[in-house]
Symmetry: C2
Amino acid sequence: MSLSSPHPANVDSAASEQALLERRARLLGPTYRAFYRSPIHLVRGSGVWLYDAQGRKYLDAYNNVASVGHCHPRVVEALSGQAATLNTHTRYLSEIILDYAERLLGTLPPRLGHAMFTCTGSEANDLAIRIAQHSTGNTGVIITDFAYHGATIATAQLSPAAVGAAGVPARHRAVAAPDTFRDGGRAAHDFARNVAAAIEDMRAQNIRPAALLLDSAFSSDGIFFPDASVMRDAADHVRKAGGIVIADEVQSGFGRLGQGMWGFANYGLAPDIVTMGKPIGDGHPMGAVIVRPQLVSSFGSNTGYFNTFGGNPVAAAVGIAVLDVIEGEGLIENARTVGAYTGELLAALQSRHGMVADVRHNGLYFGVELMAEDEATAAAKTSSVVEAMREDGVLISSCGPRGNVLKIRPPLPFARDNAEQLAEALDRALSNW
Amino acid sequence: MSLSSPHPANVDSAASEQALLERRARLLGPTYRAFYRSPIHLVRGSGVWLYDAQGRKYLDAYNNVASVGHCHPRVVEALSGQAATLNTHTRYLSEIILDYAERLLGTLPPRLGHAMFTCTGSEANDLAIRIAQHSTGNTGVIITDFAYHGATIATAQLSPAAVGAAGVPARHRAVAAPDTFRDGGRAAHDFARNVAAAIEDMRAQNIRPAALLLDSAFSSDGIFFPDASVMRDAADHVRKAGGIVIADEVQSGFGRLGQGMWGFANYGLAPDIVTMGKPIGDGHPMGAVIVRPQLVSSFGSNTGYFNTFGGNPVAAAVGIAVLDVIEGEGLIENARTVGAYTGELLAALQSRHGMVADVRHNGLYFGVELMAEDEATAAAKTSSVVEAMREDGVLISSCGPRGNVLKIRPPLPFARDNAEQLAEALDRALSNW
């Protein structure tokens, strides 16, 4: 599991990985980039563990999609059973989608009365924006300046992390993310004011905001958990200007932050729409848009909206199973307690390694910001730490506009000994500098 | 199975369906509309059959998603097996996605060299448009005037069937669909000329076409199979103006048309991009974009495109299973022969029922156009025929800008006796006028 014990099949494995990479480039093309200098050929997953073709075991401290654990038997059973029974669309009646909607809505504030189902988080954010524009009659959307909200044309235009600032159309506004660390947390302190200024700037160009769209953990921006009051003030500004508030819980939702099911609740926010994706089906392609009924009273009749696969009985069965597991295995409690313990271990590293400038977290979602003599060096070192961890058998990644924040986001059944393995590996990786 | 033998549980079932509808309206909201005056509460599917909560059996002559048959055991086995083993994203290497890409690309012209995977047909068309705009530098898209291409913001703007003509932005152009029936097939005859005129009209407003986007069966427009030459000429016009050709095979692909796997091949068309959805995974949420490599050489590096669930090992296993079944069970041959037989039975109805104005088909995809004294009456009668068929245990639907075309599109294992049941039920429904 460590650099000092190379696997005997390493030479063969390098050759076969090279062949796989070439075949991949030929068939899938250059859009398909792999993680790591030496990409991993995975063949099996179970709980917090992933296994490669040579039988090497990796502690997964990154993949939020398999959120209740890779290949959870309860989820697989629900998937298999329903797929063998009925899998059709929502133009016919089905009880299981209603059972699922009821369960999901039960985890949310009562004013969010309707559940709509998509197949991805991108589709969920795309639909949320569409509903926001349709219901407000406005067009502009306010996001943070290194946000990621999806891969459809409309959501990519709201994802400067992917398309760059120049890829955001003029009708939208990207405000500084509420960075709680740099400049003494000035951007976090000024966040609501910056949103107000963006609205003013829009107004000067005769644009009105349809929505404020925020990832509750500011995942791509670098992982931040600003004060509740600035978040609520920002929401107030947008509402006063005629817009609505969309909480993007695609990354932060389903118990990850350890205080409850949803990240926005930590701010005392009352969003008008909540979007969900990644962890919702433990890997099954699902997304959801939870919405105040008033916003969609005429949406369907004016747009003919329909999603062929969204909310089919198989997705509903999987969704229920995921909720069952979160509840039955106490995963929110686990995210809180093991998250706190992991946070302590990471904070201890900060005292031992000068390059660790900030450790921030909520539940099992961690941002570890690394600093060096200049930004380019910090980014290169961050990347090297991620690579060294992979060689050491622990999977993490990085994020943020400067690429200098370690992104740690393990499946929720992460245990105390998993946390120790993570911290020890990170200690070794940081010690190499 | 017929109106003359009402199910004994009908009264109870009506009450329970009413309760289900009320619960549905409360939880999912008004966007979720159900088929039929008395919506069907489905609980099981197998092959070409669907079963409701009262045990009533329906012949499915409409659902193209469960294209190799509802709950096909080979597909369910592949799904269950892979979901229990590994389900993660494409940033890691995996062989099964390459095996699937190779199989899928093997069914297509060699110049279409790369496969990219999404989770829905909407996402596939959205990505295709994004690639077209990115690679050509142009913005306009040409579609038909009652097309449907998806539910994302960008694809809905190219779906006048859902959003109306007013919902199509000014940079795009909707041309008359190549209707092979009305006015002696004039719109079909003039199709290429109409595309050329749209390009001229764009040019006058300084817009250049990024793509011609066509459903190979013109599904929403009323189901047409125009002459190959006009389709090729239309494609030539767009290419000369700097645009590319996208074949939308979300409805027509995977053997339905009985001549091969893809509808565009019937026209001798050489598309630059082919999009896939609905039948690709027999109900599993999948989509694909097959593209000429030149078009995506810089797409990924400029856009950071990534799809979290798209092309995961579970989707690949399901996709391979679907191709295995199409091949192993001779479903393309079945679509051709049973399609021809069904076509004969429907044509015989035309000679007996004056309101049947046109029967058109290719393989197992049928449009039956009904006429009456005026358009409103024809639409109402078409709707009544669909309802009567449902009461008689056969599921079909309708399409077209006037709502007067019966849309018949059964799963591919449709057998000769299924065709006879369909034709007999349609005969009864038409006899009531």
